[in-house]
Each structure stands twice: as C-alpha cells, then as structure tokens.
Symmetry: C2
Subunit: 336 residues, 2 copies
C-alpha cells in the first residue's frame, strides 16, 4: 500500500485556479464575497483534484477539534456498547467525533487515557462508569480545563454534571412490584458498596420496604462486583448455607445471570421456587434460561442526552442544570 502522493491543499487549488488561498478558502466555506464565476470554477477544481479540507490545521487555528473523549469501563459490555452508540451517533449529528478509551475499571489507566485525550485537544469529556468519582479526583478533573460529564455512574460530588437513570426510583419500583406480587423476604445481590448506583439502589430498596411496612434486614443485602462469576458464587454460598430464599433482586442483570445459574444448578425452579430479577435490561435479558424481569435503562438515550448536555457546555458559557435523571422502565418477564 504505497503512501499516496501528498494530499491536496488549498494552495494547490489556488495555484491551479490562479487565485490566492484566501479566495479559495472563502469559496469553499461560503464566506466573504467572491464572484459566482470564481465560485463555480474553484468548486469544480476542488472536486476534480479530490480536495479534502485538513481539519487538523483548522483545529489548530480554531483551538477546537470537534472531537469528544469518551472514556468507558469496558466497551465489550453490551450495556456500555449501547451508550457508546447513542453518544457517537448524536455527536455525529453535530459534526463531532468520538475518541474512545477503555479503562478496565483501573484508575491509572483511566487517568492516562484522559491525559492523552487532552493532548489531542478534545473539546469535552464523557466519563461512563468512571473510577474517578471520588472527591479526591476532583482536582484532576478540574485541571483538565474542559467540560466533563459523568454517565451511568454518578460522582460523589452531586454538583457534577451527570446523565443516567434514577436508581432510587428504579429500585423502588422494582421492589414495590415484588412486594405487591407477594414477596416478603427479598434478598438483594447488590453491586460494590463503593458504587453510587449501588448506594442509590439500596436506598430505593429500603424505601420500598418502609413504604410497605416490611422491616429492613441488612443481612439480606450482599455486595459484589458486577460479574457473572460473582453473582454465581454469592448465590451458591447462600443456598449451600441452607438459607431460605424466596425472592432475589439482583443489582444488575450480569449478577443476575450468575445467580440464576446457581439457582438452576441446585435444581430449583424459577419462578416457582425462587423469583429472581435484575436491573438494566441488557441485550440478552429476554433470552436467558428464564427470561429476566428487570428495569430497562434507557441506554442509548443516556449517550444521546450526555452529548447534548456536553455540546451545550462546550458551545455556551452559561450553564444548564447539569443532572439528567432518566426514568427506567419495569419489564416483567417469566423469572418472577
């Protein structure tokens, strides 16, 4: 694959047309005033020579790259894949591009990635399921000098811009549904304590208990990383301990997949012996061994709204309210 001859520049067109680069630039950008005769001629030449504006040069001049950094925990997780898609397509609508970085939930990887993005002069930053949500990370993020928005997982500083679903309400709705349909003792396989989403889902869980006068028992609540394996192990241990299990609310579908696995392995029936449900409605929740009751997060919309909010901050000085709480939707399937 030989490197093709040098790219065509404005200067090449100018020479060809016997004009200045300025004139050509004006024509191609429909700015300033040029004779319609010139316009036609220049456009034709540009077309013929296969001219492509060099946005790197433009970026240098404008001090703006029309590029947004999107840092995600793991692009192979289908949940984040949808968020990425929503963000990328919405950005494209406005002529923006997305540079993607995976962090694997590692703080250092994430910081390094952000630093590189900043050197590439991204105009703004989206942090999806970021690890940099603590107070201690604020100085780093502020030092970036560009707008940034948290997605999916909220930062500890409630002033920070955020787009995601309302976890308190979502968890409340789910537990309320479980209670109303006969459950009294609800095990909760929640995500890590450190995660804000997990804290909020616990709040919703507790609130629903209070609301229906069911005493809250913290011994029913477990915390784990959102991995299939972890859900499996936790559920298995609970069952092997001989504990009476009636209903299991999983903090996310991934944990739910593992938990379901453990339940079925024990020869128990879903939902006859144990009712189980999750949160997120990942792509395959409907196609698990038992189609999964879950809260459907508006995944692509999260990406879309995040871009809208970010572009607003990039383009305007004044601030719109910075927290967008989208509603999740209860999807009832056979697992409950």
């Amino acid at each position: 694959m030989k490197r093709l001859d040098r790219k065509i520049t404005l200067r090449d067109i100018a020479t060809e047309a016997g004009l200045s680069t300025t004139a050509v630039s004006k024509v191609l950008n429909d700015k300033g005033s040029t004779s319609s005769e010139t316009q036609e001629r220049v456009k034709k030449i540009a077309e013929r020579m296969g001219y492509r504006p060099n946005l790197v040069a433009k970026s240098l001049k404008d001090n703006c790259t029309k590029t947004i950094g999107l840092v995600v925990a793991d692009s192979s997780h289908s949940f984040l894949g949808s968020v990425i898609k929503g963000a990328q397509e919405e950005a494209a609508r406005f002529g923006y591009n997305i540079i993607l970085a995976n962090t694997n939930r590692n703080r250092e990887t994430e910081k390094k990635a952000i630093n590189l993005l900043l050197e590439k002069r991204i105009d703004g930053l989206l942090l999806a399921s970021s690890m940099l949500i603590q107070k201690i990370d604020k100085p780093f993020l502020e030092s970036l000098g560009i707008p940034y928005i948290f997605l999916v997982r909220r930062s500890e500083d409630k002033e920070d811009a955020f787009v995601g679903n309302d976890n308190i309400r979502g968890a409340f709705d789910m537990v309320e549904y479980l209670i109303k349909t006969g459950s009294k003792k609800i095990h909760f396989l929640n995500m890590d304590k450190s995660s804000t989403s997990s804290k909020d889902r616990l709040k919703g869980y507790i609130k629903a208990h209070e609301n229906y006068h069911i005493p809250y028992d913290s011994r029913l609540v477990y915390n784990m990383r959102p991995e299939i394996e972890e859900g499996y192990t936790a559920m298995r241990e609970i069952l092997e301990r001989g504990e009476k299990v009636e209903t299991v609310f999983c903090g996310c579908d991934i944990i739910g997949i593992g938990a379901m696995e453990a339940i079925l392995e024990k020869g128990l029936k879903i939902p006859e012996d144990i009712r189980i449900c999750g949160y997120d409605d990942i792509e395959f929740a409907a196609y698990l061994r038992k189609p999964f009751t879950t809260m459907r997060q508006p995944k692509e919309i999260i990406g879309v709204k995040a871009i809208d909010l970010l572009l607003d901050r990039i383009q305007n000085v004044q601030e719109k309210p910075g927290v967008v709480m989208l509603k999740s939707e209860l999807v009832v399937r056979q697992s409950t």
Copy 2:
C-alpha cells in the same frame, strides 16, 4: 464550567525560563543537546505550569495524527464491542487513539463517516463488518490514500487486507461435529447471501457434507439478516409448515437466539427433539435458555491483530501478507 485560561504552550515555558521555544522543545523531547542544568529547570517549570503538549500542532507538522478510524456496523452488538475493545487497547499500547463510527449497516452513513475521518487525518482505517466490500467500492477506498483493513467481514477483493476468523473451516468443524454426533439432516439458517462470511460458512457446510457423503440439499439452507427477529420468524415458518426438523445450524448466535425461541415456543425440547447451534459465541451464548453450542470467534484478538497489521502498514513501506485468518474454537454446550 468556565473555559479555563488559555492552555500553556512551549512559548510560555520558554518565556518563563528565559529560553527559546526550540530549547524547550528539545528538552521536553530529549532531542538535540542541552545542558543538564537547563533540562532540569525546564522540566520543572513545565511540570509546575501544567504543560500539556498540543498534539494537534504536532500532527500538523508531522502530517500524522496517531489516530486510527474504526468504522463498525453497530457498537452495541456485543461481538463488535469486543473487537472494538481489542483494537482500542492494542492501539493505546502504541500511543494511538481510535475514533469510532457506527454505520448501522448503511453504505451512505459509512462513506460519510469515513470522509469525515479522513478530514481529521486519521493515519489508517479499520472497517469492521463494513458495507463497502464490493468491487464497486474499491475506487472509493483507494482514493482515501491511507492503509485500510477489513475486519470480521471480508471484502470481495481477496487481495484486500483482512483480519477475521476462518469461516470455511469453522463451519466445516461445526457441521462435522454435528454429523459425527448423529445428525444427518441439518437445516442451515445462514446470514444474508451478500455477506462473505455467509458464503464461506456455506462452503464449509457443503464441504462437510461432501466429506461425509451426505447429499447437499439446498432447500435446507435459508438466508436472513442477523437479527433475533429474523431467526425467530424463519424457524417458526419452517416449523408451522410441518417440515421435519432434526438439527439446526444457525449462521450466527443472534439468529440462533431467535430460532431457539421459536422452537421452545412450539413446545419442542432442545436438544431432545431438535438440536441447535450457532456461530460466534457472543457473550451470552452460555446463558441462553439452553446454553448454546457454538464456534467461538477470537473477538478481541481480531481487534488486536488488525491494529498490529495496520500499524505495520502505516509505519513501513513494505507489505506483510495482508490476510490474517484466526481459528475459531468449537464450544459444545447443552443445545446439542
């Protein structure tokens, strides 16, 4: 979020240090010769002022952005999510970034995306499940003037660089397994005829039949888009027609999910009444109602190898062989 004060430039550091920008540049890049005293001083100042090199300026000078375009059909599909992850992380290892674009399997969207990427001066292009695989698309791709590599879905021109799994062999292995374990009549719910992967999987399917002296019956082969819905509809129609179905090989797991749905809905048992299997081993194949026998594609490795090949072409003039065929692995689960 007030736009922070202008970013620190080499000039700022130079002024502060009482040196020229040249000197500072040399220090910060460990090039040319500078006194160790100067080096230390400059580095300290840069550190203190929070200097971040402006890669846009460097790109303009170097005529190289250390950025790669990755065009995918749909980043929310878990298969491509893994490919993206592999590619992004491998690129990062070499200081490259990935700009991601979704095409939604639309030729025009894809072309438009590529054009924008080119204006941003990407150094190379990765096309994952591209629509631009026909002979007719070659001139467009060649006009880009940068190396490009097809991923996952191969282009019609066999000279084009490609990284993916060996579909002929994969399909052969699967069908061979089915035959050896007792299947004689194997329905094949393949993907669109237009797709190269689909053609190759059909070749493998036929080859295995020949190899085991089972007559090939084209009436058992169906083609459809890789959507759950399509697999469901196709399978349902076959069953409603009262056709005797013994074994179903699905061209991809997504189709398989739909087909399985239709089979179970009919009250048929898997694998007792019908054996069914797929291809790809998407994230959730193991957690379907019946864990799915499938061919595991080396998804992340595809991304990794593609970057390796692309960087090689970006950095060197001479060509390495341009086709990387990775082996897929048979994963036997309960559905067969």
